[in-house]
Amino acid sequence: MTDAANPIAEIEKRKPARSQWWDVWDQFRSHKGALLGSIFFVIILLAVIFGPMLWHLDATTIDIRSRNQGPSLAHPFGTDQLGRDTFARMLAGGRVSLAVGMTAMILALFLGTLIGVLAGYFKRLDGLLMRATDLFLALPLLPLLLVIIMLFRDRLSAQFGPEGGIFILMVSAIGITSWMQTARIVRGDVLALKEREFVLAARSIGTPNRRMITRHILPNVLSPIMVSATLGIATAIITESALSFLGLGFPPDFPTWGRLLFDSIDYLQQSPERVMWPGLAISLTVLSVNYIGDGLRDALDPRIRGR
């Protein structure tokens, strides 16, 4: 208006189109819990990725003379019944647990969002997909997981090696049995969103369904997806622990947080701190991920941002 006469001002006006990711970052930073959570999560990540290389003891070295020791300088977290260093096992186990947790969460999230969006957006698919969801919800999960693992363990182990095969098996088994909640929440939100006038407006513009979903529906169902994601990591880590406990997960000498937890239960009377370490690690990881999710959700919502 006023600057129309001034071409220099016009050009300068266009420049400060600051990327909105900076706004997102600013908002995220102002969320103290999220900031602490992400710092903590990064520390855990770095520890489990580089820790095993730096720590002088190996997770599988058996030193039977120093078994069942309490925390000391040589073994900060103590040792287990075979004299293996718990700290080294925690680091190595965290690697697997986090990898399984995050990959399974991503898979479950992808499936859940896909099915939720399709069921909510396309009325024809709704009945079919939601009945399938109900079916999965009604299945007793643990027996189903056991059957899946029984059936495919050997075949996958032969294909990808014992650890790789089990990893793929665990991730896909946990992933395909935990997408249902996400699907239901997303479907509900999509159904509500679909009736909003801005979707009608986009249709009057002629936006095809594909872009309608990516541009208008998905960004607006981000909050419930975020919440499911953070809860999903926790569930996945715990499910993996349960499977390891039942002897169906990774091999017994292969440490994961879940396995460490359940191995320690037998020694709860003698050395209670050994249960605490993996329990604490799982809880703190889940808590920090939850805070990160919370902060991300706020930061990605323009209505909350800048407040």
Binding site: M1, D3, A4, K13, R14, A17, R18, Q20, R196, E197, F198, L200, A201, A202, R203, S204, I205, G206, T207, P208, R211, R215, H216, P219, N220, D301, P302, R303
Partner: protein, 348 residues
């Protein structure tokens, strides 16, 4: 009107029906229809504004949406700029979209809260026009200027604006593709009075400048009187009366129009005291089960026997004035031989 003779209408709606099925019972079978729009016809000529008024739930908004085929219509024909839109397939429909746009009632709900203003206004351009990023930005800024929005607001989000500004964003989006025809679906109903005038003036100014054609849906009779060239009055899914603005407000023919106009408040208290209001009794019948005969017969103060059995024809009783009412059809019959025989057949 001489206008009718000369030009082909930009929008021609014939016998438009929009029924929504009702499912019920144990097996969720179809048990009936909500006849939201039940056989209406009208023309809109290029550059004019057709006001569409009626009370809540009479099907005004459904007409607006059906005309742009945001719904798949039940029956009827809609031609916009010579092309049939009622039967067009998805690809054809998409190529016709730039021609016609819509402005929505609730400016809060009609803007995606997660998109910036620039993205919202650019969406039609992204969909239909091949242009570089710079060109698109320029066009967006030009549009924002056109509707009176400060260009510095381009990277803000809808929730940071007031109702009037949001409606301007909606208008800018509707204008982006240079449409010929815009459906304004109660664009001012959600705004407060001082902003209403601004938005209506903006719409009028844009019409003058860009030669737009409006279908202006509203329940605000005085606003329609201000902006519309011709006015259609809807009652229960049908058009009761369609006439040029001046005639309609001076001498309404249909009893429903008379009742509706008598309800408009009068600012002068001296005149206000003398105004005789026609108070309608009863409620609007359900659109899933409209009365036999004339839709208005259950509440009409001048109801006759014939109204309860025979549905009145929607016909031109004076040049440019259409009305669906037996009161006026009988008067017309004396002159028209053809109509006389039909009408007599119906009476006996």
């Amino acid at each position: 009107m001489a206008l009718d003779m000369k030009t082909e209408p930009l929008v021609r709606v014939q016998n438009l029906k929009m029924h929504f099925p009702i499912y019920g019972g144990l097996l969720q079978r179809k048990v009936g229809d909500v006849k939201a729009v039940d056989g209406i016809s009208f023309d809109i000529y290029e550059g004019e504004t057709l006001g569409l008024v009626g009370e809540s739930g009479c099907g005004k908004s459904t007409v607006g949406r059906a005309v742009l085929r945001l719904y798949d219509i039940t029956d009827g024909a809609i031609r916009i700029d010579g092309d049939d839109i009622a039967t067009a397939d998805a690809g054809k429909l998409r190529s016709m979209r730039p021609l016609m746009q819509m402005i929505f009632q609730d400016p809060q709900a009609s803007l995606n809260p997660r998109m910036t203003v620039a993205d919202i206004i650019a969406e039609p351009l992204r969909e239909h026009v091949k242009m570089s990023k710079i060109e698109r930005e320029d066009r967006v800024l030009e549009l924002m200027d056109q509707v009176g929005l400060n260009k510095e607001f381009a990277n803000r989000y809808p929730h940071e604006f007031s109702g009037g500004q949001r409606q301007r964003i909606g208008i800018a989006r509707a204008l982006a593709l240079n449409p010929k025809f815009i459906v304004c679906d109660e664009p001012i109903a959600a705004l407060d009075v001082s902003i209403q005038a601004q938005v209506v003036n903006l719409l009028e100014e844009l019409q003058d400048r860009l030669g737009l054609t409006y279908l202006f849906i509203s329940h605000d009779l005085s606003m329609v009187r201000h902006i519309a060239d011709r006015v259609a009055v809807m009652y229960l899914g049908q058009i009761a009366e369609l006439a040029p603005r001046a005639e309609l407000y001076e001498a309404p023919l249909h009893p429903y129009t008379q009742a509706l106009l008598s309800a408009v408040p009068e600012p002068d208290p001296n005149i206000e005291e003398q105004v005789e209001r026609i108070i309608l009794t009863g409620d609007v019948p359900s659109p899933s089960n409209p009365p036999q005969g004339c839709n208005f017969c259950t509440r009409c103060p001048q109801v006759m026997e014939i109204c309860k059995t025979v549905e009145p024809q929607f016909q031109e009783v004076q040049p440019g004035r259409f009305v669906a009412c037996h009161l006026h059809q009988i008067a017309e019959n004396a002159a028209s031989e053809a109509h006389k025989s039909i009408q007599q057949g119906e009476i006996t």
